[in-house]
Symmetry: C2
């Protein structure tokens, strides 16, 4: 059965009220607070239909209605209007991010800002290595058989690895190697480097280069080392109505697993927010939460993801607006650095 406009209005009103009060909303309250132009009884009939269709449900027989995941989904897709950021928020974002001195700083500031503005848990992925390109490579001799490989990417990330050399190698050779590496690799996307590295190794046919190639290929490209920053876990205590051990612990545990967090950003695009509501989340432990995420990067490219995690009963329009705004600012900052 198709839902007519009024039923959709009722659903919207239920979601908005429930998000605001965190209490099941009844028919009387609803007509009082929203000018729906009909009586509570009519609303009750509409509610019955909405419940039958699975958009809302009753916690107990004698309680008001609460949106289901499906109800939130409909709300997000069709009912919510975009909520523009207040000038105050906009200023807060600018002021907060402007003083960042390096990439670490940008990420840390962004994640704290996001947590503060949304009053939820914020997650920011560092610019992904696989999506970055090489700006500079440096080989630092530590001993005659060991050197440190330092790679700097265009997004400002710095990665280092220890390389064990198969035989003592004079400093001059290392310097030549550095020059060769930079000539070949600077400017290349990380995903495109493997053949280049291989070609270089074949061309030079030098033990040191071979060891280096192994490290480059294995640790930097295949096993993409991703990093994550997290903030606002204290906001989880705002969900009242959940017990400590039962509900909070699994969420906190999930938040400590980088693998899980990274999956949140798997399908993000720049500019538009991705919303996963309750059951739509891949991980069972996060099925009581919703995740709003988006991609960021210079222009409209995506070098990493950021987002917010909170109860399914969250202010979706506001959260979406904030997440997108912060992502845009972070992207802009990256182009400068």
């Amino acid at each position: 059965m198709a839902l007519d406009d009024r039923k959709l209005d009722v659903l919207r009103a239920i979601v908005e009220d429930y998000v605001a009060t965190q209490e099941p909303v009844g028919s009387k309250m609803l007509v009082e607070r929203h000018s729906l132009g009909v009586s509570p009884a009519t609303v009750r009939n509409d509610m019955a239909v909405l419940e039958e269709e699975g958009y809302i449900r009753q916690p107990h027989t004698s309680a008001g209605r609460v949106p289901t995941d499906r109800g939130y989904r409909l709300f997000v897709d069709r009912l919510s209007k975009v909520k523009p950021l207040s000038p105050a928020e906009r200023r807060a974002i600018e002021r907060f991010l402007i003083g960042a001195v390096d990439l670490d700083d940008v990420v840390h500031r962004a994640v704290r800002l996001l947590a503060q503005l949304t009053r939820q848990v914020a997650v920011v992925q560092y610019p992904s290595l696989s999506r970055s390109s090489v700006r500079h490579l440096e080989l630092v001799p530590v001993s005659t058989t060991r050197l440190l490989l330092v790679m700097i990417t265009d997004t400002g990330r710095v990665e280092q690895r220890v390389v064990e050399l198969p035989e003592p190698t004079p400093v001059e050779d290392i310097e030549t190697l550095t020059r060769h590496l930079n000539e070949k690799l600077v400017g290349a996307k990380l995903v495109d480097t493997p053949p280049l590295v291989q070609a270089l190794a074949d061309q030079l046919a030098q033990p040191a280069m071979n060891a280096l190639a192994v490290v480059l290929l294995e640790t930097l490209v295949e096993r993409h080392e991703e990093r994550i920053a997290l903030a606002g876990t204290a906001n989880l205590t705002r969900y009242n109505g959940l017990d400590l051990a039962g509900s909070l612990r699994p969420i906190l545990e999930a938040l400590e697993e980088e693998v899980i967090l990274l999956k949140l950003f798997d399908e993000v695009k720049a500019g538009s927010a991705l919303v996963r509501i309750g059951d739509e989340n891949e991980y069972a432990d996060l099925r009581t939460t919703s995740v709003v995420s988006t991609g960021y990067g210079p222009g409209s490219t995506v070098v990493g993801g950021l987002g917010v995690l909170g109860p399914t009963r969250m202010d979706y329009p506001g959260t979406i607006a904030t997440v997108r705004a912060v992502a845009r600012y972070v992207g802009d900052l990256l182009t400068q650095h």
Copy 2:
């Protein structure tokens, strides 16, 4: 009044039982579970004295006794025997830390291990910059008026900063500068670098070097950039008997403040554990918790701190043993890298 041996035995028994059961312990239980050789009534008299002296207290008139912060302090100082690590734990530590590939990896593994073994919140400070020395400096030109300063320390930390040059500087000059910097600074403790940098700036009297000197002095030395890794916040949900908003939130908030966490390691020494119980903590929000911390580093030097935070009712001997063991292994690992 001096406490005789039996009263101290009673206190020890109370602490051990309370830590094990998390429930106030009464006189009857106590004589049943420990062979004290006296009757409950006698124990009650002893308890009355211990309470008068402030070592234990009654949550309610008709409840058993619970140790006070003062009671735990006495227990830690005089009553607890060192608990040696089980071979299983020892093996777990070795196996877990052995595969670490770089500093980040060491720190992350250590903090997770610590959280897992103690079932509490673990905190590990990255090797402090101010206590490290310079291994290598690199200047990477980004544009003609901007370059990236990368510093690698002997503990494996890599720090980078963007330097704005006052005027376009040719690449050759940058290379000379790099050579000079490394000649002067490599091997020096970071705290000792300011006069060296200043001398170099005076000697060269070059605009680029001056800009560089400012960045080096200000960001790397004066404002010591410290980093922290955290794990096991989910273990906070094990404290039952605390309410979400009232008790958990302030702790989670404190854990997100790097400044607060760093203070935990202010006075650590290598080899011995520092225990701060309840009220002894500087920050009001952590007055319901205890912190066991120690320093780590190659040999008996201290380059950073690590520790564990949990309820005042924690297993002090076990926690102290674990914290010290992990610190020793981390220190050893750093000497290898």
